[in-house]
């Protein structure tokens, strides 16, 4: 059963515009959330995280929003750049309990110059 879902397999955005990547989860016990960026044939690299005590976390062009009641989080990239073209994975878990992170299926972002 997929506990973390990314329902959009792909997204195309013009350079300079906002990219919004969405992620839904089913387990209300999840209290820590991560976003990773992955290029082909490489391992994912960490982008940004958020804990359930916050509803927003910002790092440069990247902002993650968390809506606990809706069990939904999103990653905003503003402005989008061609180098942002990659597959983005969200992950959710309960690290304080020693449990594992569960990943979504990924969204392939293409930023068009």
């Amino acid at each position: 059963d997929q506990q973390v879902k990314q329902n959009s397999p792909s997204l195309s955005v013009q350079e300079g515009r906002i990219s919004i990547l969405n992620c839904d989860y089913t387990n209300s016990m999840f209290d820590y959330f991560l976003w990773y960026k992955k290029y082909p044939a490489e391992g994912p690299t960490f982008l940004i995280s958020i804990s359930s005590i916050k509803d927003k976390n910002e790092d440069g062009r990247f902002t993650v929003f968390l809506n606990k009641s809706a069990k939904h989080l999103s990653l905003h990239i503003v402005p989008s750049q061609p180098g942002d073209s990659a597959v983005y994975f969200c992950a959710a878990g309960t690290p304080n309990t020693g449990n594992q992170f569960y990943f979504g299926t990924g969204t392939s972002l293409t930023v068009i110059p």
């Binding site: 991560l34 490489e42 594992q100 990924g106």
Partner: protein, 112 residues
């Protein structure tokens, strides 16, 4: 600083052959270790994780196995590969607080 090494980068194996993928972590002690697989067109599936030497938890039943003979070494094995074992295998580690995973560069396995 901490680094994670995973090899080989690519591997082509015939069906029924054995498999051994190795992962080592440097610059930290007592890490949590993980094996993930990304099959074609799919997300990251957790296969195994380990919180200590000799302690392995399996998330998905399959013909793969994992071992942790040393604190910072994690090995993924199979006695007989299946076609469905093809995919991109990723090793990862996290600290004891487990708040972030650090991934290796991955192994592209093709079973023919």
């Amino acid at each position: 600083s901490q680094t994670i090494h995973q090899w080989p980068a690519t591997l082509v194996q015939p069906v029924g052959s054995p498999l051994s993928l190795e992962c080592t972590v440097e610059g930290t002690s007592n890490p949590n270790l993980y094996w993930y697989r990304q099959a074609a067109g799919r997300g990251l599936q957790l296969l195994f994780y380990s919180v200590g030497i000799g302690q392995i938890s399996s998330e998905v039943p399959q013909n793969l196995s994992a071992s942790r003979p040393q604190d910072r070494q994690f090995i993924l094995s199979s006695k007989k590969l299946l076609l469905s074992d093809s995919g991109f295998y990723l090793c990862a580690w996290s600290g004891r607080l487990n708040e972030k995973l650090f991934f290796g560069s991955g192994t592209q396995l093709s079973v023919l």
